[in-house]
């Protein structure tokens, strides 16, 4: 049995039973990375010796069997800080920078027996939907090397899809976990905003960013959430309250659950194949005993426009610190301080990041703030209200994760607006701060995965995961990218 192909839940069970060791799993993962990294380019940093070494010492001590994650490796999107490791955020501007501290989520993972593995590729500062904005080149979709893995957590999704990882962490600001999970045929979960501490996640848009897992099953996502979530004294926006056992109700099935389908929002359009896949799933879900109701989300279609004002405004400020003064890249040509700033940032940032900083700076400028930023905040509250109303009628809203299966590398990179629209169904969820999970729901004629996402009530990941798990069983997606 190739252990790297197994899910987290299964490996944990086997490890607890003493059937396998962390070293066994790490060895299989390393072998897969060595075999596939050249083609897929998933990792920005991968230290196989360190991974094996850590797995070996855990195995020798035997302590791993008393921890929830049993010494299993977790790959980390390279915008999450790991102590003493380089962190690039897919950008040249952080050249040479190593984080002096662990992100809270990394601390939590370590505490619960995970081994922190390699750092995965992403669009620069998580800005993008294909990993093509990475300064270090795109990751390939394991299902088709000509296709994008989605983004920005494309490396994390591809790693799990290609069995180069058991699980990985992504970050989701406008769909950056769910859309690549959908493109790569894996499960991607964005918890409620504030569920997982953002401390140590390099901020793109602070009011939207949320860390979440990419896994091979809904159950694996639940296990990950169990160790990732919780209030953090270092993150003022993290949410108080007890963290339930997300795995407890997983197998309660479809019965008694109500799914809401926002027909008005679906009219924004999608590929015919996506629509077919989605509609069939809705029918199936209903046939298997769940209630399906129409809900209305009249403001969701404005979410993309609203998002690109709010996210870019916050980004323009969040990315101001990358200036060549303290760390990372600094221009050679630094004769005066302002010229130094300009040249450093011109050399260090890629086109998409510059575009967003410019847009964000513009919408916050005197005379424009009210028309853009304030207006966008109003729209945001309307989107929040849409969901709140929808959730009065259903336990979870159901939407395609993306309007198309994976697109080709190069296909949209020259047209930012077209690229932005690939997140049309994921963005509203971030604006509303709700939990959302994408699961694979089939393959296109070209053998590219479809994904459907479920959107739960605030902090009710348990019900959400129960529903997603039931649909997952129903779909029974067993395809693999490799023969």
């Amino acid at each position: 049995m190739r252990l790297n192909e197994c899910g987290l839940a299964k490996l944990v069970t086997m490890a607890k039973a003493g059937e396998i060791s962390p070293l066994d799993v790490a060895s299989h993962v390393v072998a897969a990375v060595e075999a596939r990294e050249r083609d897929l380019r998933v990792f920005l940093d991968f230290d196989k010796d360190e991974l094996l070494q850590t797995a070996r010492s855990l195995t020798d001590s035997g302590d791993y069997r008393r921890t929830p994650l049993c010494g299993m490796p977790v790959m980390i999107k390279d915008n999450i800080c790991v102590k003493d490791k380089p962190i690039s955020c897919g950008s040249r501007i952080l050249t040479g920078y190593k984080s002096p501290y662990d992100a809270t989520v990394v601390v939590n993972l370590r505490k619960n027996g995970a081994i922190i593995g390699g750092k995965t590729n992403l669009d620069e500062f998580a800005m993008g939907s294909s990993t093509e904005n990475s300064a270090f080149g795109p990751t390939r979709n394991p299902w088709s090397s000509e296709h994008a893995p989605g983004g920005s957590s494309g490396g994390s999704a591809a790693a799990v899809a290609a069995d180069m990882a058991i699980v990985s962490l992504g970050s989701d600001t406008g769909g950056s976990i769910r859309q690549p999970a959908s493109f790569c045929g894996v499960v991607g979960m964005k918890p409620t905003y504030g569920r997982v501490s953002r401390y140590g996640l390099v901020a793109f848009a602070s009011s939207l960013d949320q860390i979440g897992p990419v896994t091979k099953s809904v159950e694996d996502s639940a296990l990950m959430l169990n160790v990732m979530c919780g209030e953090d004294a270092n993150d003022a926006t993290s949410l108080p309250g007890a963290v339930p056992d997300f795995a407890a109700n997983l197998d309660n099935g479809l019965k008694g659950l109500t799914f809401g389908v926002p027909r008005d929002f679906l009219e924004v359009g999608m590929d015919e194949s996506v629509k077919d896949n989605f509609d069939k799933l809705v029918t199936n879900v209903q046939r298997e005993g769940a209630r399906v109701v129409d809900v209305s989300m009249p403001h969701a279609k404005y979410a993309v426009a609203c998002y690109y004002i709010i996210a870019n405004a916050e980004a323009s400020s969040n990315l101001a610190r990358f200036d060549g003064v303290k760390y990372g890249h600094r221009t050679q040509n630094d004769d005066d301080i302002y010229a130094m700033y300009v040249r450093t940032r011109d050399e260090g940032f890629g086109d998409e990041v510059k575009r967003r900083i410019l847009l964000g700076t513009y919408v916050l400028s005197a005379g424009y703030y009210d028309a853009y930023y304030l207006q966008a905040q109003k729209v945001r509250s309307l989107v929040v209200a849409d969901f709140a109303k929808a959730h009065e009628r259903c336990d979870m809203v159901m939407l395609p994760t993306a309007p198309s299966p994976a697109f080709k590398l190069g296909e949209k990179i020259e047209d930012p607006l077209l690229m932005y629209l690939s997140d049309v169904f994921t963005i509203p969820i971030n604006l509303a701060g709700l939990p959302g999970v994408s699961i694979p729901t089939g393959l296109s004629a070209d053998r590219l995965p479809f994904g459907v996402q479920f959107i739960g009530r605030p902090l009710d990941e348990s019900t959400l995961l129960q529903g997603a798990r039931a649909v997952e069983k129903l779909v029974d997606f067993r395809e693999k990218p490799f023969a």
């Binding site: 984080s99 501290y101 953002r198 602070s206 003022a236 400020s317 610190r321 916050l364 703030y369």
Partner: protein
């Protein structure tokens, strides 16, 4: 030159004396080795997030309550965006649209002048840039980054440089009373920018204002304003317009220079800080902080005047420091004669503190001891010049007045028999002076009294010595 009215508003920054910084756990200690009090949060390292220091919030609420402000139950932190190497995130976390405190006031000029306070809000301090002579690099010390500040913005109610300095002094007194800021302007824990404009007398429209920055003493506030008012008056007098510039005061040269023009003014692109929640202030916090506010200088002054019968001037001097006022009050309570104590505290005590550059907590004479010394004078045990010598001895040694008087044999000689003998010998020793006095040179009496004091090594009761001398001289006139 037409007569102008001066309109002044002040923006004062006060560093709060919290143990840790505004948004992280680093120490706020002043004077440590550069970059030793820093962490990922205050350095703005990638991924770090701010967390509000509740102690700083309480200090700001205290200031708000002490200056009659309304404390907002919900206020909002905002980012002020600008690029400068003293600001590691390239934005400062401050408050903008919804400040913590607003609509307050304070009084200056003995309660005659009320100056409105627009707002008191919380923010974080920037770092310090160090430029060394002959070195083409600049260095940054980030120890100060993130130290909590309150910014106190006044209404444009101030009408003269003198008034501006009084306002500033009053603010310092208040923050010291509240023990939220040490008020040390040299170390920069209290800093001030001024806005100033002129308008024709009788006009109700404001003229174009300029801002003068970098005023780190009361003198600088006054001088910079005088300089700027004169400059604006000259320009207006010549029929020219005032440009809305920001100026930098150079206290060495005694002049200000334009730092940036309106065109170069920053657009700070304020927006609500998404890393922090709305700052909720529970009513219970406001109530608790309110109980922690000590008697403030104005109330104390009133009480010193009405209850202790002090002249207003005395009360004003004594209440300018909470510690001095406390020392005075304790001493007055011991002695039961407030005015006598006030004279001593305002004279000898303050002089001693100034000479030795110490504050009252380091002063060796306890209130009880000072009261005992004054009592010695009042009972005639020693005379005033002797008392001042004893005071200096006490200030150095901390010994009791009684012991010093005894040990040094300083007890006043009031005994007429003993003094008589001295008087006779002085008159015998200075026959020429006696003759001149008797011929009408009254002034020589003082000389003769001096000789008596000299003979008794200062211990003679001055009045008694004078009386006895006069008596003896009159006798000689008759003989």
């Amino acid at each position: 030159m037409p007569s102008f009215e001066t309109i002044i508003g002040l923006e004062v920054h006060a560093q709060l004396q919290t143990k840790s910084k505004m948004f992280c756990g680093c120490s706020t200690r002043f004077g440590s080795a550069p970059n030793t009090q820093v962490c990922p949060v205050c350095l703005g390292l990638p991924g770090a997030l701010p967390v509000v220091n509740v102690k700083a919030v309480e200090a700001a609420v205290k200031m708000g309550l002490a200056t009659g402000c309304t404390v907002a139950r919900r206020s909002v932190f905002a980012r002020k965006n600008y690029f400068y190497p003293d600001c590691p995130k390239n934005y400062q976390i401050s408050q903008y649209e919804h400040p913590l405190c607003s609509n307050g006031f304070l009084h200056v000029e003995g309660g005659e002048k009320r100056i409105g306070i627009t707002r008191v809000h919380l923010e974080e301090d920037a770092g310090k840039l160090i430029h060394l002579e002959g070195d083409d690099h600049s260095y940054a010390d980030m120890n100060r980054v993130g130290v909590p500040l309150i910014e106190i913005v006044s209404e444009p109610d101030i009408r003269s440089p003198r008034q501006a300095a009084s306002y500033m002094q009053k603010l310092r007194t208040i923050v010291r009373y509240l023990e939220i800021c040490d008020g040390n302007m040299e170390e920069g824990s209290l800093r001030c920018d001024v806005n100033v404009s002129l308008r024709k007398k009788g006009s109700d429209k404001f003229g174009t204002k300029t801002e003068v920055k970098n005023l780190n003493s009361f003198k600088a506030v006054e001088q910079a304003l005088e300089f700027e008012i004169e400059r604006q008056a000259r320009l207006l007098g010549e029929g020219r317009k005032i440009q809305q510039d920001t100026l930098l005061w150079d206290s060495v040269k005694g002049e200000s220079q334009i730092m940036r023009s309106k065109e170069e003014a920053h657009d700070y692109r304020y927006f609500p800080e998404p890393d922090l929640l709305v700052l909720d202030i529970p009513e219970s916090l406001i109530q608790r902080v309110d109980t922690e506010i000590p008697e403030l200088p104005d109330a104390k002054l009133d009480r010193f005047v009405s209850d202790l019968g002090l002249p207003k001037y005395d009360a004003e001097v004594l209440t300018s420091s909470r510690e001095i006022a406390g020392y005075f009050e304790a001493t007055a309570k011991e002695l039961g004669d407030a005015k006598a104590v006030s004279n001593w505290v305002m004279g000898e005590v303050l002089r001693e503190l100034k000479d030795k550059k110490i504050d009252i907590s380091q002063f060796k004479i306890l209130p009880r001891q000072l009261a005992a010394l004054i009592a010695e004078v009042q009972s005639g045990g020693i005379n005033m010049p002797t008392a001042k010598d004893v005071f200096r001895d006490m200030a150095g040694t901390g010994n009791e007045a009684k012991d010093i008087i005894e040990k040094k044999g300083l007890k006043q000689i009031s005994d007429e028999g003993a003094l008589d003998a001295v008087v006779v010998s002085v008159l015998d020793n200075y026959p020429q002076e006696v003759a001149k006095y008797l011929a009408g040179k009254d002034k020589l009496l003082k000389f003769l009294v001096g000789q008596v004091m000299k003979e008794t090594r200062g211990k003679a009761h001055p009045q008694k010595a004078t009386d006895l001398l006069k008596e003896a001289l009159e006798k000689r006139r008759g003989s």
